[in-house]
C-alpha cells in the first residue's frame, strides 16, 4: 500500500482491508482494499452492478463482509456512535411527507434517540447554521417533498453532516440530478471536505463530473478495486486496462475529460456508456 508512511502519522479516516462479500452465490466484492483520508474527496467509480452500494453498506455496517475488515479512525466499526454520515440513494421524500427541510436536518441530530423532544433554541440554531453551510437557507421552511432534486440533495447532506461525522458516504448522489445541480452538489461537497476536514466518499457511475475535485479514485469493476490518486488512475493506460476497452484521457484547457474510444467492441459498449459517460459531462 502506497499510503503506509502517511498512515503511520495520522490514522486513515477509513480503511477497507481485503473485504469480500458474496450475495446470493455471486461474488459481489472480491478482496477490496483502499483507504480514505481526512479532507480528501474520493470517488467510488464503477458501472452499475459493480458492487458500489454493497461496498458502502459494508462500510456502514449494514452488510457483514464474508472476509476482511473495515476500520474507521483506526478502530473496528461498531453499529453505534460511528462518526459516519450517510446519504443513501433512495430516501422517501414524497410531497405527502409532513416534513420541512429544517425538520429533516434536525432529525439528523437526534433521530436515533428514544422519547420525544422539546423545541430548543440551540437545536434550531444548529439546524439553521447547517442549512446555511449547504446554501439551503432559502428553502428551510419548504416541505422536502416539494423541493427539486438538487435542493433535496443539499438537505440530505445537511442531515448527514449535522451529527459532525468524520466520514461522509454518498450513494450515487448525482443519479437523478441535471448537470448543473450535480456540479453544484459536487462543489459543495469538495468545499465541505476541505473546510471541515471531512473525508468524503462518493459513488458514481460516471467519472467526468468528479474530475475537477476528486483527490482519489477507487475504481470498482466485477467486484475488484483499483485505487490511487486521481492523476495516477485517470490516465489513458490505466483506464483502458481497467475498463477493458480503449479509453482516452484528454487534457483540454486545463480540464480533464474521459472519453470512450472508438466503437467496435460490442460487448464493451454498455460498459463504455456507463463508465466514461458523455464527454460533455466534465466541468
Amino acid at each position: 500500500m502506497t499510503d503506509h508512511t502517511r498512515a503511520a502519522v495520522t490514522p486513515e479516516t477509513l480503511a477497507v482491508d481485503q473485504v469480500s462479500v458474496a450475495l446470493a452465490g455471486r461474488q459481489v466484492l472480491n478482496n477490496v482494499s483502499f483507504t480514505v483520508h481526512a479532507g480528501e474527496f474520493t470517488g467510488l467509480i464503477g458501472p452499475n452492478g459493480a458492487g458500489k452500494t454493497t461496498l458502502l453498506r459494508v462500510i456502514l455496517g449494514l452488510q457483514k463482509p464474508d472476509r476482511g475488515r473495515v476500520e474507521i479512525l483506526g478502530r473496528p466499526r461498531s453499529p453505534r456512535n460511528q462518526p459516519v454520515g450517510y446519504v443513501p440513494q433512495k430516501v422517501l421524500l414524497d410531497p405527502d411527507m409532513p416534513m420541512r427541510a429544517k425538520d429533516l436536518v434536525a432529525l439528523g441530530l437526534d433521530g436515533n434517540r428514544y422519547g420525544l423532544r422539546l423545541p430548543s433554541r440551540d437545536r434550531s440554531e444548529a439546524v439553521r447554521a447547517m442549512l446555511h453551510a449547504v446554501d439551503a437557507d432559502r428553502f428551510a421552511d419548504a416541505r422536502v417533498g416539494n423541493l427539486s432534486g438538487g435542493e433535496q440533495q443539499r438537505v440530505l447532506i445537511a442531515h448527514a453532516l449535522i451529527s459532525r461525522p468524520r466520514l461522509l458516504l454518498l450513494d450515487e448522489p448525482l443519479a437523478n440530478l441535471d448537470l448543473r445541480s450535480g456540479q453544484e452538489v459536487i462543489a459543495l461537497l469538495a468545499r465541505i471536505a476541505r473546510e471541515q476536514q471531512i473525508a468524503v466518499l462518493l459513488s458514481a457511475h460516471e467519472m467526468n463530473p468528479l474530475l475537477p475535485v476528486m483527490d482519489h479514485v477507487v475504481y470498482l469493476a466485477d467486484g475488484r478495486a483499483a485505487s490511487g490518486p486521481t492523476d495516477q488512475i485517470v490516465t489513458t493506460e490505466v483506464l483502458t486496462r481497467l475498463y477493458g476497452h480503449h479509453v482516452d484521457v484528454l487534457h483540454v484547457h486545463g480540464r480533464v475529460l474521459v472519453v470512450a474510444g472508438p466503437a467496435g467492441d460490442e460487448t464493451a459498449s454498455a460498459h463504455k456508456a456507463a463508465a466514461a459517460g458523455p464527454a460533455a459531462g466534465a466541468g
Binding site: R57, L60, G61, L62, P79, R80, N81, Q82, V84, Y86, P88, K90, V91, L92, L93, D96, M97, P98, M99, R100, D103, L104, L107, D110, G111, N112, R113, Y114, G115, L116, R117, R138, D141, R143, H159, A160, S163
Partner: protein, 303 residues
Amino acid sequence: MHHLLTAIFGPGFFASPQVHVAVSIGAVVAIVSAVTGVFTVMRGQSFAGHALGDVSAAGGSGALLIGLTPLPGFVGAGIAGAGVMDMIGVQRLRGRDLATGIVLGAALGCSALFLYLGATSGSTTGATQQILFGSIFTTAPGTVAAVAILGAVALGSIAAVARPLLLATLSPDIAAARGAPVRLAGLLFMLALALSVALSALAIGAILSTALLIGPAAAALRVTKTVPGALVTACLIGVAATWLGILLAYDSFYWRPGHQSLPVSFFIVAIIFATYLAAGLPAARRRAATRVTGAASRDKVAA
C-alpha cells in the same frame, strides 16, 4: 335559547349515561387512532391497518361466542395478527396483496362462523351489529378505564420511539446506519397499531376501524407541514367527527316517526370522509396556482 339547545342536542343528551360513556370512549379512541394513523399513513401501512381490523373482528366475535366481552378478543387477535405481520415483514406485506387478501378473507370467514354460531345459540343478540359496526352506545361504563389504559399504552409506545420511527420512515438504511432502534420501533408501532384498531373496532366496528385510523390522519397530512402539526390536527378532526357523530346519532332518534336511531358509525365515517375531501381543496387550489405562477417563480430562484 332553550329550544335551540334542544334542537341541537336532543332531549336528555347531557343526562344520558350512555352518552357519557360514548363521549369518553369516543375521545380516547379518536385520539389514539389519529396519532397512530399519522404514522400509519406516512409509513404506507394503511393496508396493514385494514388487515388488523378484519383479524380483530374474528377475535371479537370469538370472544362473544365463548361468553366474554368483545374487547379482549379485539385486542388479543389484533396483537397476535400484528405479531404475525411483523414476522412476515410489513414492508414485504405491501407487495403481497394477494396473500394478505386471502388471510383477511379467512379472518372474516371465521367472524362469519362465530357470529352465526352465536346467533343460532341465541346467547348473543345483536352480536353482528356489535362486532362489525361497533357498540359505542352500549359499552358498559366499566370498560372506559380499560379503554383509557390500552390507549395510554398505545400512545406511550409511539412516543417512546417516535424519532427512530420517523427516521426509519424516511430511510431504513440511514436509521440502521445511525444505530437507531429500528427493530424495536417497528415492533412497538405494530403494538400501537393493533391496540388502536382494537379500540376503534369497539367504538365504530371492526369493519370501519380503518376509517377512524386513516381518515383524520390523511386529511391532516393534506393541510399541515410538520409532524406535530399533523398529529394535533388529526386528533382534532378525529375527536370532532366522533363527537359530532355521537350527537347526530342520538338526535336521529327523533328524526323519523318510528323513533329508531341511525347507526353512529355511519355519521362518524361520513363526517371524516367529508373532512378528507374538504382538506383536499386548499392543496388543489395551491396546485392550480403553482401551475400558473410556477414558471415565473422558478426563473426568480434561478436568477
